[in-house]
């Protein structure tokens, strides 16, 4: 017959409980942390020909971009503000405020982007000029290529922001 002291008994039970805890927590914690190690499926979307733009006049266009995360494959409607700078460069700004990621609106009278959530302000080039935003409006990762047939400038957008916010 097995003879146990009370102390030994408590020690063994404690060890057993710890073993159960470990066996349960390894898969659970691993499962919980898995999003940290998943990679976004990169997708390039051909948006189309770049529309005519007036200098410093943001023009919103709707993109269909899949988020590429988890099992999400359906493209979602997203906004890009196209801005032509005076030096000819084109900005493809997101409408995601760098403060709390709300949707910024363009105010044509003030010529500013305004975030309705907490009153962040950006100028037409997306620089944060007032309120809580800590950094400028992020841009979509994009490239502009001339169409070999028509010679138009075609805008391609990737499902990523070119600045981690």
């Amino acid at each position: 017959m097995l003879r146990l002291t009370r102390r030994r008994m408590v020690q063994l039970t404690g060890l057993g409980a710890a073993a159960i805890g470990l066996m349960l927590s390894i898969p659970a914690i691993g499962f919980l942390l898995s999003p940290l190690f998943q990679k976004t499926r990169e997708t390039w979307v051909r948006v189309g020909a770049l529309p005519d733009l007036t200098v410093d006049q943001p023009k919103p266009i709707t993109l269909k971009v899949p988020s590429g995360e988890a099992y999400d494959t359906t493209p979602v409607d997203r906004i890009a503000y196209l801005v032509r700078k005076s030096d000819g460069a084109t900005l493809v700004l997101t409408n995601t405020c760098s403060h709390m990621q709300c949707d910024v609106h363009f105010d044509p009278t003030l010529q500013q982007f305004l975030c309705p959530c907490h009153g962040g302000l950006y100028d037409v080039h997306g620089n944060n000029i007032g309120g809580p935003p800590p950094s400028p409006l992020p841009q979509w990762v994009h490239r502009l290529e001339p169409d070999p047939q028509t010679g138009q400038t075609i805008l391609f957008v990737k499902n990523a922001y070119d600045e981690s916010i």
């Binding site: 942390l33 999003p35 940290l36 988020s67 995360e69 979602v76 409607d77 709390m100 990621q101 959530c117």
Partner: protein
């Protein structure tokens, strides 16, 4: 004084009851549950605790009914609620009661905490009552905010975006928390499932466990009341207090406390006096929720649209002070300072109140060291809420 007439039970019922009682010990249980002394003055203020309990039960009840229709999926959540709103005759009513009882619950918990704060009921040996109650308050706020995310209408979607983004400003681990909650960098299908799990399982489980602890502790130490219940009237306070302690009914005298506060001057039975008042308050509150749930229901915005160019997100009213604080603490370091340091330390200070306010004083004006910061906080919350209302709903 209320009088309650008693009438003998019918013989058949009595024999049936006896059968159950022999096996389940019901009478014992009911006696333990109902016969207890509570301080006689301020009974209407003590009803806030039981009202909180009733409202939480109502939340569980209506919540389970909502689960019969609601689908926690990014694609179908809005459709299922739309169906509930339009095609189900009582669906909107149930959802309205879930929403309105949450609103009333937050108000009632706030008043309950204020009452406990002003009367210093949290002092020795009732420290853990306050701590468990404080954690319960934050759990309810967590339930309220996760609940607001679930409908996946515009309001819910943008609430999700903002709330899941706040941890991002936490130094070092902020980004990881955001990614874990969202299941990625963006709000997507996984975000909703996780929020749903938090709202339906994680927080309610913790809530139930803490409610059990809170009630057990209440029964162990008894209702404190306020300093008026312990004042002495005769020239010989020592003798008066000794007499009071000798004649006190359980759970008094409270052990390990200054003699003066060990037993109230006069007590009444929990049953029927206190229970009657509790019932009246609960009936009124439930009736308000019943009516408002029907008339106002619960709003459902348009389907979540990440590509909106016009939608103005606004938080639920009880988060307006925090939302306004976000406006007033701009840019990375101030957000970390304002949101995490001030609000975090403030919340911690609130929960740990009994451990630093240990003076024997019970009257509010005799303890300005907690009353002044407390009133400051209360005024600040109101002022920030008014400013938030002005900012979001101004014409």
């Amino acid at each position: 004084m209320l009088r309650f007439a008693t009438r003998p039970l019918s013989r058949r019922f009595r024999s049936g009851y006896r059968w159950v009682d022999e096996r389940a010990g019901t009478t014992d249980l009911v006696h333990k549950g109902l016969y207890e002394a509570v301080p006689d003055r301020g009974a209407w203020a003590y009803t806030l605790g039981s009202a909180t309990l009733v409202l939480i039960v109502l939340q569980f009840f209506t919540g389970i009914f909502l689960l019969l229709t609601y689908v926690p999926s990014f694609a179908s959540a809005w459709d299922s609620l739309r169906f509930l709103q339009t095609s189900d005759r009582f669906g909107n009513w149930v959802r309205g009661m879930h929403l309105w009882s949450a609103y009333v619950l937050i108000l009632v918990i706030g008043l309950h905490m204020l009452r406990t704060f002003l009367s210093a009921s949290y002092k020795r040996p009732r420290e853990l009552n306050w701590v468990s109650g404080g954690i319960l308050f934050f759990l309810v706020l967590g339930l309220a905010i996760t609940g607001a995310m679930l409908p996946m209408d515009n309001a819910g979607y943008w609430t999700t975006v903002v709330v899941t983004n706040i941890p991002h400003y936490l130094p070092f681990i902020g980004d990881a928390i955001r990614t874990l909650w969202r299941g990625g960098d963006f709000v997507g299908p996984i975000t909703l499932t996780r929020t749903f799990a938090i709202h339906i399982w994680v927080l309610p489980f913790l809530l139930l466990a803490l409610i059990g602890a809170h009630l057990y502790l209440l029964r162990r130490h008894g209702e404190f009341g306020a300093w008026v219940n312990y004042s002495t009237t005769t020239d010989d306070p020592d003798r008066e207090i000794a007499e009071r302690i000798r004649r006190a009914e359980p759970p008094y005298p409270t052990l390990r406390i200054e003699r003066q506060y060990a037993a109230p001057r006069k007590t009444v039975g929990f049953f029927p006096n206190q229970l009657f008042k509790d019932t009246v308050v609960s009936i009124v509150l439930v009736a308000i929720i019943f009516v408002f749930g029907f008339i106002a229901g619960a709003p459902l915005d348009a389907r979540a649209d990440p590509a909106t160019l016009t939608y103005v997100p606004s938080p639920e009213w009880f988060y307006l002070p925090l939302d306004q604080l976000l406006v007033l603490t701009p840019q990375t370091y101030l957000i970390a300072f304002g949101v995490f340091l001030l609000v975090g330390l403030g919340s911690l200070a609130l929960i740990l109140l009994p451990f630093y306010d240990r003076s024997p004083a019970r009257r509010p004006l005799s303890r300005p060291e907690v009353l002044v910061p407390g009133l400051f906080l209360a005024f600040m919350v109101v002022i920030l809420a008014v400013l938030g209302v002005n900012r979001l709903y101004g014409l």
